[in-house]
């Protein structure tokens, strides 16, 4: 009986290993192979080092690497700075309207990065941007006349600003818990020794939270490194290239050079692996050396802001204005005009719902909506199911090589979306995988997204399974239940809340995903974000893109808040 069970476990282990090799290692291997070949994957040329010599003897490459580091570094500094300030204000001070501020901080999640960048083009394009038009008028009334600007979103600075604002919610969610859970004894000791609030924050609170902040910073830096939307929308027109756009441009325009893209992808992957390793180290450091949550019952002491209460509250509203209200307003405005123009009394008379009619008439939009639904549901379900399988093997079995399985899934975190997509193109356009017929379907998009989200999924399920004591499952087995029945009737109900929140996290990211669906887009598998880009870029129809964007934001707002309700219900069942 035991032998049969362990044989079953081994077969299951082999199956999971096979799936992971198929999803992660084979595409990456193919990408490295293609980096040594010239020609199109459709008709590959001979093996050569030419792609590497081309890529790494060109000064543009080094400028691109510097751009990437500057973009990710400065963007991260802005994001972490704002997120830390907000986390401290919300968790440790007597800021008024804290619940409202918490909700306001979640709203930016409903605006995809692509739309955020597009909206800021309408706001800060040097000539026609709404804010620039008003600023020029204001300056002119003061006697200063300028022909363009004064702000130019098409620049490295514009990219950094967009990325810096976009990441705040995620980093805030990562560090808010650490602020809440910190033992106040250290701070109380500081106050008792006569230190002021600011001195206590600077010398006690922030150093105690250093590991959490370090982990959040490295996480955000890695995310910024693979950020694609802002570099595509405002970086490319300014000739500012970063890794993600360099790979995209290499494989798409004006002459597709997949080998060169793969050569860039290789070094990008290695750089990302290095940061993923640092992140892992930072997280370990946090859990081992800085135990700030102890068994003692406590309530963190709330700091008095005094006369700064309302100025601090104003900061939230300014952030909300920048992150949501202004971009949303300009998108709504544009969507109501046949052709974009800055607000004026004359433009008001041209308002129309034609763009919304166009959206609903365009059959591609309905197909894209259906594809988005399939991709979202399948990706979230399959990621969570696969993550659970991996975690169960790693945490609950003693199969040899199970830790390699864990490392492999975590390594997928280091593969940027653009690299995942490129490697999938190369695998599924060439034999033998070409014969699977996956290229051009929604399934290839889903598989690529699963590869990208697997690291998150396994972290969530590893933690959930570890929390369930083995004796509960053993009791089930002693009572005669098989492994599958134990899993379904004992383990699953206990970890369901973690399942639900992981599912929602993956679904929320899949529905907004852009780089993978764009690179893998075909006639049949376009998602809504790809369709939006199609209107913006290919059709040059800014107004239709804005109309689709407004509808997408409505959909995502519903999704974000129902997700929160579902998570709350999931946890309340525990």
């Amino acid at each position: 009986m035991t032998e049969r069970r362990s044989a079953g476990t081994l077969v299951f282990f082999a199956l999971v290993v096979g799936i992971l090799l198929w999803l992660i290692l084979i595409p990456l291997g193919q990408m490295f192979l293609n980096s040594f070949r010239t020609g199109h994957p459709v008709a590959p040329g001979p093996f050569t080092f030419k792609n590497y010599t081309t890529a790494y003897t060109n000064p543009l490459t080094y400028r691109m690497i510097l751009n990437t580091v500057a973009f990710a570094g400065a963007g991260t500094a802005i994001t972490v700075g704002i997120a830390v300030l907000f986390a401290w204000l919300l968790e440790r001070t007597n800021l008024p309207l804290r619940n409202l501020c918490w909700s306001l901080l979640l709203v930016p999640m409903a605006m995809p990065g692509l739309l955020f960048s597009i909206a800021y083009v309408f706001l800060f394009a040097p000539q026609s941007g709404v804010v620039n038009v008003f600023l020029r008028a204001a300056l002119e009334s003061l006697g200063f006349s300028i022909s363009e600007g004064p702000i130019n979103i098409y620049s490295l600075g514009g990219m950094i600003f967009l990325d810096g604002i976009r990441g705040v919610t995620t980093v805030f969610l990562i560090i808010a818990g650490a602020f809440r859970m910190t033992d106040p004894a250290f701070e109380e000791a500081s106050w008792a020794a006569g230190a002021h609030n600011w001195t206590t924050v600077r010398r006690i609170t922030l150093p105690v939270l250093k590991p959490a902040l370090l982990a959040a910073t490295i996480y955000e830096f890695t995310s910024s490194m693979e950020s694609f939307e802002a570099p595509l929308v405002v970086g490319l027109p300014a000739g500012v290239y970063v890794y993600s756009t360099m790979i995209y441009v290499s494989t798409r325009e004006p002459i597709a050079n997949y080998g060169l893209g793969a050569a860039f992808g290789g070094s990008y992957f290695l750089l990302a692996v290095a940061f993923a390793y640092l992140y892992q180290r930072a997280v370990l450091l946090q859990s081992e050396r800085f135990a700030t949550v102890t068994g003692k019952a406590y309530r963190p002491r709330v700091m008095e802001l005094g006369p700064w209460r309302y100025p601090a509250l104003a900061l939230f509203f300014i952030y909300f204005l920048i992150a949501v209200a202004l971009p949303l307003a300009v998108l709504i405005w544009t969507s109501l005009l046949r052709f974009y123009e800055p607000p004026s009394w004359e433009a008001l008379s041209k308002m129309t719902l034609d763009n919304y009619r166009l959206i609903f008439r365009e059959r591609g939009v309905l197909t894209a909506a259906w594809n988005t639904l399939i991709v979202t549901v399948f990706t979230a379900t399959a990621t969570v199911a696969l993550s659970f399988s991996v975690s169960w093997l790693v945490v609950r079995t003693k199969v040899k090589g199970r830790f390699a399985l864990d490392a492999l899934t975590f390594a997928s975190h280091a593969v940027p979306g653009v690299v995942v997509a490129l490697s999938f193109i190369l695998v599924y356009l060439q034999p033998p995988f070409r014969y699977l017929g996956l290229y051009g379907t929604v399934w290839i998009v889903s598989l690529a997204l699963i590869t990208q989200y697997l690291a998150f999924g396994t972290r969530a399920t590893n933690a959930a399974i570890t929390q369930i004591h083995r004796e509960l499952e053993e009791a089930g087995e002693v009572s005669g239940a098989g492994k599958v029945r134990v899993l379904w009737q004992i383990t699953y109900p206990l970890i369901r809340p973690a399942f639900v929140s992981a599912w929602i996290w993956v679904a929320a990211h899949a529905v907004r995903s852009f780089s993978i669906p764009l690179l893998l887009a075909s006639r049949e598998n376009r998602t809504l974000s790809v369709m939006l880009w199609y209107f913006w870029d290919e059709e040059g129809n800014k107004a239709a893109a804005a109309a689709l964007g407004v509808l997408l934001i409505l959909l995502l707002t519903f999704f974000t808040f129902s997700g929160r309700v579902l998570i709350a219900r999931g946890f309340s069942q525990r």
Partner: protein, 351 residues
């Protein structure tokens, strides 16, 4: 007398050959029409939009085709610029043949032919003008373009705009004020020895880079930005894109000039993909689109009818102007020429 007799015989012989050739053409055409009638359907993917600014565009072409061949139902879909075509190429390679008529850029055709993705059809047998046949024979250039300079009249008055030359595009006077497509086809044509030649073209390309020219990834997007005033001049703008903006989007503040030499690039290649479900109907569509009727409706819809057909916009525009083409021996090296130019203007795709 003997000479006259010999001449008459020669003329008679020539007439017999022509008559036979025409009969063969007609026989071939009849066979294609019979095949198309049997297939009853054609899926067409082309660059023309179904509607432009709320007015019918490709729709008019489809309606005219269906009035001529009512037994073939047309399913139309737009395939956009180079990125869209890269997608089409990949889909064909993956065995997903969605169209009976599809479009690729001329530089993609050799790859598609090498991978055996294009149905080999003898387009000469259908009396297609040689300038409309791709040098590798893989497909035909179904529409014609000319490249000129578009400008925003709110920022550049006509008195200056109308006199702009190709050299002005790289003049420091217009530093940071000029935009271009990131695939500058007009420079490819200038590269040929009988036009500007390699050295002058690459020097011009480097001057464009030094002038901080904006290189746009999408011509439609670039022209929209020109219309919004993001920059005053767009060098290498196609006449059809300019005319579409003026006609369909009422962008009357745009101006256009055709400096000499006038490049007449041929980039969009239509073909019947190998494995197409309705190859005869696809061939019929392509052959019809190159007839005088097909080109005139294309001209009326998107101002890109053949300059070899009297009365088209391009035929009128090019009258008295020095037009330059991509000669086949250089068109065959288009990718290499383009790479040199792109390298010179400082875009990241290099050899």
């Amino acid at each position: 007398m003997a000479i006259l007799l010999q001449l008459a015989c020669a003329v008679l012989l020539a007439l017999v050959f022509i008559a036979r050739a025409l009969a063969q053409d007609q026989k071939l055409m009849d066979r294609i029409i019979a095949g198309a009638r049997k297939e009853g359907q054609v899926k067409v993917g082309l660059t023309t939009r179904w509607e432009e600014g709320g007015k019918p565009a490709a729709k008019r072409i489809v309606e005219l085709f269906q009035s001529r061949y009512p037994f073939v139902k047309v399913d139309y879909e737009r395939i956009g610029g180079s990125r869209e075509r890269e997608r089409v190429l990949s889909e064909l390679a993956a065995g997903r043949v969605s169209h009976d008529v599809a479009v690729l850029s001329s530089t993609q055709v050799p790859v598609a032919l090498k991978a055996n993705l294009i149905e080999r059809i003898d387009w000469k047998a259908f009396a297609v003008h040689p300038r409309h046949i791709h040098q590798d024979g893989g497909g035909v250039f179904y529409r014609s373009q000319v490249y000129g300079i578009a400008y925003n009249r709110k920022l550049v008055p006509d008195s200056i705009g109308e006199k702009l030359t190709w050299e002005d595009c790289a003049d420091p006077k217009w530093k940071k004020k000029v935009a271009m497509d990131n695939r500058p086809r007009h420079l490819e044509i200038f590269w040929q020895p009988h036009v500007w030649g390699r050295e002058k073209t690459l020097t011009h390309a480097r001057a464009l880079a030094a002038n901080q020219t904006t290189f746009e990834r999408s011509r439609s997007d670039g022209m929209t930005k020109l219309s919004l005033g993001e920059y005053p001049i767009f060098c290498g703008a196609t006449y059809s894109t300019y005319k579409e903006l003026v006609t369909y989007r009422e962008a009357r503040h745009l101006g256009y000039t055709l400096p000499e030499p006038v490049p007449v690039p041929q980039g969009d290649v239509v073909f019947v993909p190998r494995g197409a479900a309705h190859p005869n109907a696809g061939t019929l569509w392509i052959v019809w689109s190159l007839t005088e009727e097909g080109q005139k409706i294309l001209d009326a819809v998107e101002f890109s009818g053949s300059p070899f057909i009297p009365g088209t916009e391009l035929q009128k525009l090019l009258k008295g102007k020095k037009a330059v083409w991509y000669e086949p021996q250089y068109a065959a090296k288009a990718e290499e020429i383009l790479k040199e130019i792109i390298e010179a203007i400082g875009l990241p795709i290099v050899r």
